[in-house]
């Protein structure tokens, strides 16, 4: 424990996680040697653009990578010291939903349209807890009430298509939190929602987190949401962690040029100034540039950047993957 505040034994430790997928060019890593920790009751923001591997990382933690096209190539995911990646499927099922729960981006498609929402919540409850049908129903209604669904008795028998997007995300949260997990992984939970609904859902999540004392891993592309809700941030680029630090340190004072560039791309932060887009696109896995993977797009690159692939260096309060992390003075927000 060298970064962030000390919170005792970490709840979750991800070490050297590498996940590969089959492509036209053979097996290629989508997540490449990712390591981080989550403390109890901590809120971590995992940010990056589409294709950076953040969602795959989240899925891998729950052991949901598999099948013919994907595999975890190496690494460990320790929950209270127990490696989840070596567990068999039945043992994993005990972890999923009970100790680690997950909610996803698309509330519209994440609930089975063929069953009532009540049935689906009961299904999860009875899977993990020894409840009678009647007890489970009562508990499900309590949960619906707790996530702010008006008239939960009536809503219990609704089919998903009868609910709005915001309401469905609340139902999914109710389902995920039904067994009071220690860690909630929220993969872009508000991306598909309107801003006012997003505000409602984020408020709800924050309240429930406090109430249940759980940790949250918030996977998102939205820097502003992270700034508002998280304690610590992990920035990913092309499958790697490029920077991680406390939110209060990272946003005003980014050390990696990619972090700084993303902040500079946010409209509304720098009134009256033009945005400064990053040129080009994220390199595809089969055509990674030599040296630093961000270097071709970086406005601060030197010859050395094209030669050496930088390591993730521990700077005490943060970790950065940039050869020039010490010498650069990059603009942030709120300074």
């Amino acid at each position: 424990m060298s970064e962030g505040r000390a919170v005792g034994v970490p709840l979750l430790q991800v070490e050297d996680l590498t996940v590969e997928f089959v492509t036209e060019h053979g097996w290629l890593p989508v997540v490449d040697g990712v390591s981080f920790e989550i403390g109890r009751q901590e809120t971590i923001g995992l940010i990056g653009e589409s294709g950076c591997g953040k969602s795959v990382t989240a899925m891998a933690i729950l052991g949901l990578i598999g099948g013919p096209s994907g595999r975890v190539a190496r690494g460990r995911v320790l929950l209270d010291g127990q490696d989840l990646l070596v567990l068999e499927e039945p043992e994993l099922r005990e972890v999923r939903g009970r100790r680690i729960a997950m909610i996803f981006q698309e509330p519209m498609t994440s609930i089975d349209p063929a069953f009532t929402i009540g049935k689906q919540i009961i299904e999860v409850l009875r899977r993990h807890l020894p409840l009678s049908r009647a007890q489970a129903k009562q508990r499900a209604i309590d949960l619906l009430d707790r996530v702010g669904i008006p008239d939960p008795h009536r809503r219990f028998d609704d089919y998903p298509h009868q609910l709005s997007g915001g309401m469905r995300q609340r139902v999914l949260i109710a389902m995920a939190l039904s067994c009071e997990p220690d860690l909630l992984i929220a993969d872009e939970p508000t991306t598909a929602l309107d801003v006012t609904v997003q505000a409602q859902v984020l408020e709800l999540l924050a309240g429930l987190q406090e109430e249940l004392g759980m940790a949250v891993l918030l996977v998102t592309h939205d820097l502003a949401v992270v700034a508002e809700t998280c304690d610590r941030t992990i920035v990913m680029y092309a499958g790697e962690v490029v920077e991680s630090a406390d939110v209060t340190a990272l946003f005003p004072d980014p050390r990696h040029p990619y972090t700084a560039a993303m902040l500079a791309n946010l409209p509304g932060l720098h009134p009256g100034e033009p945005l400064r887009p990053i040129p080009g696109i994220v390199p595809p896995r089969h055509a990674l540039p030599a040296g630093c993977w961000y270097s071709p797009r970086c406005e601060h690159r030197t010859d050395a950047c094209g030669a050496t692939h930088p390591q993730l260096v521990d700077l005490g309060t943060r970790r950065v993957r940039c050869l020039r992390a010490d010498e650069l003075d990059l603009p942030g927000v709120g300074r």
Partner: protein, 302 residues
Amino acid sequence: MTTATPDAAPSVGPRSTAASRPETRWGRFVRRFRRQRGAVAALAFIVIVVVCAVFAPWVAPKDPIDQDLSASLAGPSSEYWLGADRLGRDTLSRLIFGARFSLLAAVQAVLVATVLGVPIGIVAGLARGWVDAIASTIADAVLSIPAIVLALAIIGVLKPNLTNAMIAIGIVYAPRLFRVVRSAAISVREETYIEAARAGGVGTLTIARTHVLPNVASPLVVQISLALGFAVLAEAGVSFLGLGVQPPDASWGVMLGQSTAELEDHPILVLAPGIAIMLAVLSFNVLGDGLNDSLGREIRRE
């Protein structure tokens, strides 16, 4: 504008500036098709059968209708590779010539189905409204009558011969092509690029020609391949019943139908045309599936 460093524009991966041209549609198709071994094998088999059928007089070892009663029901030998039937006709030669009738019949049927189904499908899909409603109801009605029954009925009132049989099968298949083309036209119509093109002042006919046809083409090619398989099978069925190709000419179905009596003692006479039919149908189906996978939109994962 102060994006990148002033020196050379950054080049990352296959970032397409003017230099690297995007892959052509044909190139992409070939690349994706070649990855599917089954479909490639199916195509190879079809090509071989077509070549044999076209050059049958040169490929076949014997005349398919030449009777040699001394060889009646001969087993496979160096002279009769697949044996001979009751009239002493060489099975292999009859198979090769039979391919002519089977394939020609299939092509006729698919032609009829295409001519009927495709234009009406495009018009119905683009026009919508009552045109579409009427055309779709007719298609549904035709589809409600079992294909073989309708084909037999049409043959029944016409005259049992191959062309009539194939017109019947074509009519029966037309609604299927109609449906595919219509739904492709509808889905293209609803894409936002069509809306964008319309907003850009592009006329309806131009849209049909430049946007709809290319998008309808892919599912249509797939369907035509599947339709050929269906037609080969249907022709075999109709000829098996004696309502298609008339003797002494023989398609695979006729060969099968004529040999049922020989099934117990000389199963090869039934199996040879049976397997030929199966392989042909299988090839068209596998080819169709392969085309479907290589012509569809490329799916990218996150």
